[in-house]
Structures are given as C-alpha cells and as structure tokens.
Amino acid sequence: MEAPEVWGGALDALVQRRADLRAVQVYDRDEIGLAFAQPLRLYSPEGGADETLDPAAMRAGVREEARRFFGEVRAAMRRRRGVHVLAEAHAPLADLVANVLLGREAGEVP
C-alpha cells in the first residue's frame, strides 16, 4: 500500500507506451474497520515503527482515511484513463475478473 505519488510516475510511463491500465485494489473490511477490542500496538510486516492506538477512538478516522485513500487511487487512475476496480477481500472473484476484462470501473469506496 503506497501513496499515488509513489507509483504515479511508473503509470505515466505505461501510458506513454499506449498501454491499457487496469488496477485492482483489494481491501480487508476488518482491517480498515480496526476490528480490535482493546488498545494495542500494530506493526507493519514490511518494517517500521510500531503504532499504538485505541481501536475504538480511531475506527472512524481510519475508515475515513481509507475512503480518502481509495478515492485518491481511483482519481489517479482516471487521470491516466485507467480502470480502477476496488474489491473487498471476500467478494466473488468472478465479478472482479469480469470487471477487469471488460474495463469497467467498479467497487464503491466503503
């Protein structure tokens, strides 16, 4: 998971080569919903410092931030005439593949 500024340059290069862009973004509803009961420390498997948080206090904020982030990804794809398919991790795979193949933007930002 990286911000559009990080990967936007690489997409631009693909656009210049007249490539069709299809982006599939899969999220875990429990993850962005912070489905934890007690305060805890979270760490990234990719490394970096721990984050200490109170799930109850942060839940709304994280959800809002996720919505904002998904929106930014979708906007970045649109700027490059690409297709952004947003899918929840437990959604049917056939729908997702169909949307990708048909080039249909899909998935509501939760």
Partner: protein
C-alpha cells in the same frame, strides 16, 4: 499598590499544576502487538491529526494548568492593596518634622550627602505648608541637636532651623525623636514627617513602640526615605597595637558594605606624626555579612604613646573613615641614674648594683645615663622617662627640676641612705614624697645579722605582674636592717604602698603627681642597709620597674575608649580641675561625679585629659558607633507603620472570589475545547 497573600502557604499546592504533565510522561504502553498491513493509513491519519491537534493540545494543556494555578492561588487568599490617598500635609494643623542627622546620613551620592538632601526637602516642605500650620523640628541623631521644640507658624524660621541643623557623628535615635514628638503633640493627632535613610540594623525596631503609641493617638506618620542608592561604605571596624617585629604591630580590620570588591589605601598615623600606608583588598558584601579583610603595619622602634589612628580613603561615608586606638610608648626607656654616693671606687657606688642589674636589659628596655647630682639639672621629661635619685644628700637645688619632670609625666625613683637628712628631703622634695620622711631606724636589733624580710608582693599589682607565675616568694629572702620610717599617710588616692616588711613598715611606696609618679624605696640601693642587691629578684625587679615606669607614665597609663554621643566616665582620684581637650583642640564640657569625670564626645578622635600646659594624664580614643557604618537598608519605617496599622496605610481588595470564578471558567473552557478535540486519537491508547 501592593499585593499580598493571606494564606501564602497554600501556594505550595501549585506543585499540583505539574500533575497533568507528569501523567502525560508516565503513560503506559499496551502489551498487545499485532501485524497490520494498512500502516500507511495509520501514518497518514497520524500526520493529518497531528497537524490539527498540535495547537489544540497546547491550548488545552495551558488552559488546564492555568485553571489549576488560578484555583490554588485563590485558596491562598490574595489581596490587592492600593495606597490610601494622603490628605494634604498640614491638615491637622500641627506638623512635626524629624530629621535623621546620624552618621550614616553623611553617605554621599553625586557629591551630596543624604542629610543635605533631607534638609533641602524638609525645608521646602515646611515653606509650602499653609498658613497657620504649626511646625516643630527634632533631630534623630546622637548627640541631640537643637531643633524647634515647640510649634511655630513662622515657616521661614523653621526652615532656617532645619537648614542650620548639624550633621552628627553619633548613632540614630529615632525612638528619642519620636518620643519628643509625642510629648509635644500631647496625645492629640498631628502629622509626623520623618526624613531618614533607613540604614543601620535595629533603628526602626527600637522605635516601634513609639511608632505604635504615636499612631494610637490618631496621628499620621509619614516617612520620607532619602539616599536610596545602592549601599556602599568602607570602615575600619577594629584596630589594636600588639607584639611584632621592630616596635610591634598595628593590626586592623576593614569591612566593606558595598556590592563590589574594593582595594583601598589605609594609613596608620602614630601620635608623633609618623605615617605608614598599606593597600587593603576587601571582598564584596554578601547577604549574610559585609566583606572583611585584615591588615597590619609594623611600628618603628621608637614611637610616642598616645592615640593613633587608621584612616581609609572612602568617598561614600567620610565620617567613619578613621578608627582611633591606643598606642603605648614604644622603644627604649631612657633612665637617668643620679648617684648621691659614688664612693671611692666603682664598686662602692650607691648605684653600682642597680646599674649592672638593669644594663643587660638596655638593648630592649632601658638606656642608662649615670650622672652626679648636678647632672640632674638637665633632667627633662622630653628626654628621660625615668630618673633614679639614689642617696642624694642635698636635693634642694634639684627640686624644681624634679618637680617639673614628674608633673610633666616623668617617673622618679627615690632611694635613701646615710646621706639623707629627713628635714632637708622633706623641705625640698615635699611635693614629691609619698609621705614625709621620719627618722632612720633599725628594723632589727643591732646584733642581729640578717635583717627583716619583705612580705611577698601582691601579684595583682601591675608592677609585679611578671612575678605572678614565679619569683614572688624571692622577695621574702630580701633582708633589711635599716630603713627610713615615714610619717603617717593616708593609703589610697594618690599614695599607694607597693611593698612592706613583715612588721608592716613600708618598703616601697608610690605617689602619683601630676602626669607622672614617684616611687620611694625606704632603704638603700646598695648593700648599705639591705641585701636586696644580692637577691635573685633584684635584677628582674628593677628591670621591670624601669620598663613599667618608662612605658606607662606620661599619660599613657590612663587609657579609655569611648563612642561618639555616649558618656565617657574617667575615674579621677584627685580633687584638681581636669580639663578635657577634643581632637580639634577645643575644650569639651565636663561634669563631675564623686571620683569620676564625665563628658560626652560629639565627634571621633583623641581626647586628652589633664591640666592645662601639661602632658595629658589620660587619653580617650573615641570612635563612631559601629552600627552607623552598616548602611545596608534595614526594616523601613513604612513597613513598620504598615504592620502596625494596615488599614490606615492601604485599601484592600480580596482577589480570591474573582480568582475562583476565573479558575472555574477556565476549567469549563478547557472542557469545551477538549470536547471539540479531533475525534481520531492515535495517542489515546495510553
């Protein structure tokens, strides 16, 4: 305007204001740690929220701490005091002006003393008073100076009296001045204006009772502080002569009451005019004590006795720059030995034994001049300090010289023998003899060989002090066969018996005459009538006697110390009229009491006591009061008045209700702001 706290200890609870900060610092971290893929979201959220919360949190913390501090301050019950508006001076119709003219008021700022400033301000104040207002003036220094002791409405006259008040060199007597003011007001209200520098420890404290009584009558006390600059003063607090190299050492201590270290020249001036200067580095004053430095100078081998001084150069308070102290005569005692019976050979000389007994001490004690009786005509107290007249048959031609010598401060030792005729001696030396001579008489029967022994001397006598530890009993081995008896005399006063034989017959008698003294040894100086010269105590006794006489007579024997403005009591054993001469040569007024002469010095310096045209019989070293040199401000008259009558000094406004309300309002405000805090709280897990 002033601010006070009725319960200042409650301010200690202000420490509780630290609790929110401490709570923040010691927060615990949760133990549960889990992997999380969407860390980017948390980091973005943190950055976003932190930007929004940074200002918000600081504001909230400040509000909470401030609320706590304000509430605790309210518990300390603060109050605001606004000075009462003073009514126009002279409203009571009776104004007493008190001017502090004590020594510390001589402190200079920009070349003008605090006393001069006070005079100028007081005179202006009096001239501006309305018509019909009675004004009186008292000085608050020692000795008391004349002011205007009753109410006068001639303001010009009173202002002139203020301008004519002298600067005193004594202590502050605020209590005395306030007492005189109360007496003049007679229990009725009036206004008392006090011009003072407020310096010196305890001055206001001693006057507090008078202040209280004055305020009790409804009178107004209006202090006017003058000379409010930073305190600075150097003073010699002590000086004394003592043993040391050459002729001894003068040691002294310099105190610095100023905030900066000082190096100052200090000059020791001896009575004969000799001066020695040293530089003294004195550290700065601290809150606890003034800076202090010790210094010393070496005295020459020869120096006149009298009152010496140590003088500093200090522009801040010139009046206390000199310290006066006693200096004994320093150096050899020059002694004239008058041999009335030289004999046929040196060993038969009347003074053969005495000369040899004293000669070994000549290097440090006595310089001897052995002369025939005619040589004694040259005797003068300016050259010789002691003369020994031994068995001189006819002292008549010498009598005027001897009398002048003794009255002028010399010491005369008389010894007798076969040449002495009582009638001749009584006629010629009557003004000097402790008692008229009787006949020569044997103390023991003629067939006895040994003679009568002496009683041991009183070790408390100055003359015999060196024998107190050992040697006193050696006098009991002195055996004398023959003496001159003395006609009855009265012990005490001028005449004092120093040694007696076992039978009680006087052996050595002293008489004070003028500024000098006479010692009469009632037997011979040689072996003619006594074996004294062969005894072990002979040499040390005469060495001591000549040193004692040479060092102590000449006025130096009587030394007294005094303080400006305080009575000096000088014991006087004679009924003659003694005069006191001040440091400027001025005659000082005295009063007599039985056996004592009293006077009150009005300035520091050397005071001489004695007859006119004679060397002083006594010296008094007078110094300024030490407390006046401490120019650091003490409890002010304003503070004393405010403590005694707080309601008359200021209007008081309690601030605790307003602070309580403010504290509660701050708490409410903090709560409101906390509720509006960004809802996503990354840190809230703590």
């Amino acid at each position: 305007v002033s601010f006070g706290l009725l319960a200042p200890t409650a301010l200690g609870l202000l420490m509780a204001a630290l609790l929110p900060i401490v709570a923040h610092l010691i927060r615990r971290r949760p133990e549960n740690r889990r992997p999380f893929g969407a860390m980017l979201l948390l980091q973005r959220l943190r950055r976003r929220v932190e930007r929004r919360r940074q200002l918000h949190d600081l504001l909230l913390l400040a509000l909470r701490v401030l609320a706590l501090a304000v509430l605790l301050l309210a518990f300390a019950r603060p109050e605001l005091r606004l000075p009462e508006r003073e009514s126009e001076l002279g409203g009571s119709g009776r104004v007493v002006v008190i001017l502090d003219n004590s020594l510390s008021m001589d402190r200079r700022e920009s070349g003008r003393s605090a006393f001069e400033q006070a005079q100028q301000e007081a005179a202006a104040l009096v001239r501006e008073l309305g018509e019909g207002v009675g004004v009186a003036v008292f000085a608050a220094g020692v000795p008391e100076a004349p002011g205007v002791g009753s109410f006068s409405d001639d303001h010009g006259l009173v202002a002139g009296a203020i301008e004519a008040l002298p600067q005193a060199e004594g202590a502050t007597d605020l209590d005395g001045a306030l007492t005189r003011a109360r007496a003049l007001l007679g229990g009725e209200p009036g206004e008392v204006v006090v011009f003072t520098d407020g310096a010196g420890p305890g001055n206001v404290g001693r006057a507090e009772n008078s202040v209280s009584r004055l305020l009790d009558t409804g009178s107004a006390l209006l202090p006017r502080t003058v000379g409010s600059g930073a305190p600075a003063n150097l003073v010699v607090s002590a000086a004394a002569y003592g043993d040391g190299l050459e002729g001894g050492t003068v040691s002294f201590k310099v105190l610095n009451y100023g905030p900066a270290p000082v190096e100052t020249p200090a000059t020791v001036r001896l009575p004969d005019g000799a001066e020695m200067t040293v530089f003294v580095s004195v550290p700065a004053s601290t809150d606890e004590a003034p800076g202090s430095a010790d210094a010393a100078v070496t005295v020459p081998r020869q120096a006149e006795g009298g009152v010496a001084q140590v003088r500093l150069s200090d522009p801040d308070l010139p009046l206390d720059d000199a310290r006066y102290f006693h200096l004994p005569r320093v150096g050899q005692t020059r002694v004239m030995l008058v041999d009335g019976d030289p004999g046929s050979s040196p060993t038969r000389s009347e003074l053969y034994f005495l000369e040899r007994a004293v000669a070994p001490f000549a290097g440090s004690g006595a310089a001897l001049d052995l002369v025939a009786p005619v040589g004694a005509l040259r005797l003068s107290s300016g050259t010789w300090r002691v003369a020994v007249l031994a068995n001189v048959g006819d002292p008549d031609p010498l009598a005027p010289t001897l009398v002048d010598f003794v009255r002028g401060g010399g010491a005369l030792v008389l010894t007798v023998g076969d040449n002495v005729s009582p009638s001749v001696w009584n006629g010629a030396l009557g003004p000097l003899l402790p008692a008229p001579l009787g006949r020569a008489r044997d103390l023991v029967s003629s067939d006895a060989e040994t003679g009568m022994t002496l009683q041991p001397p009183d070790a408390e006598e100055d003359l015999f002090l060196p024998f107190a530890r050992a040697g006193r009993l050696g006098f009991e081995r002195v055996r004398t066969r023959r003496v001159f008896s003395l006609q009855p005399y009265e012990e005490g006063g001028e005449v004092h018996t120093l040694l007696r034989y076992q039978s009680g017959v006087p052996a050595l008698v002293e008489r004070r005459v003028g500024a000098g003294r006479v010692l009469l040894w009632t037997s011979t100086a040689d072996l003619g009538w006594t074996n004294f010269a062969l005894q072990s105590v002979y040499a040390p006794f005469w060495a001591r006697a000549l040193t004692w006489l040479g060092g102590e007579v000449g006025g130096a024997a009587a030394r007294f110390d005094g303080v400006v403005g305080e009575p000096v009591v000088v014991p006087v054993s004679v009924a003659e009229e003694w005069l006191v001469t001040g440091p400027g040569g001025q005659r000082v007024g005295t009063s007599r009491a039985p056996g004592a002469l009293n006077f009150v010095p009005d300035r520091a310096g050397a005071y001489a006591i004695g007859r006119p045209d004679e060397p002083p019989a006594a010296w008094v070293a007078v110094n300024v009061p030490a407390a006046e040199s401490d120019v650091r401000p003490d409890v002010s008259l304003d503070d004393s008045r405010a403590r005694l009558t707080p309601d008359r000094v200021a209007r008081r406004f309690p601030l605790d209700p307003a602070l309580l309300l403010a504290g509660l309002a701050l708490l409410v405000g903090a709560g409101w702001i906390a509720r509006r805090r960004p809802s996503t709280d990354v840190e809230a897990a703590a």
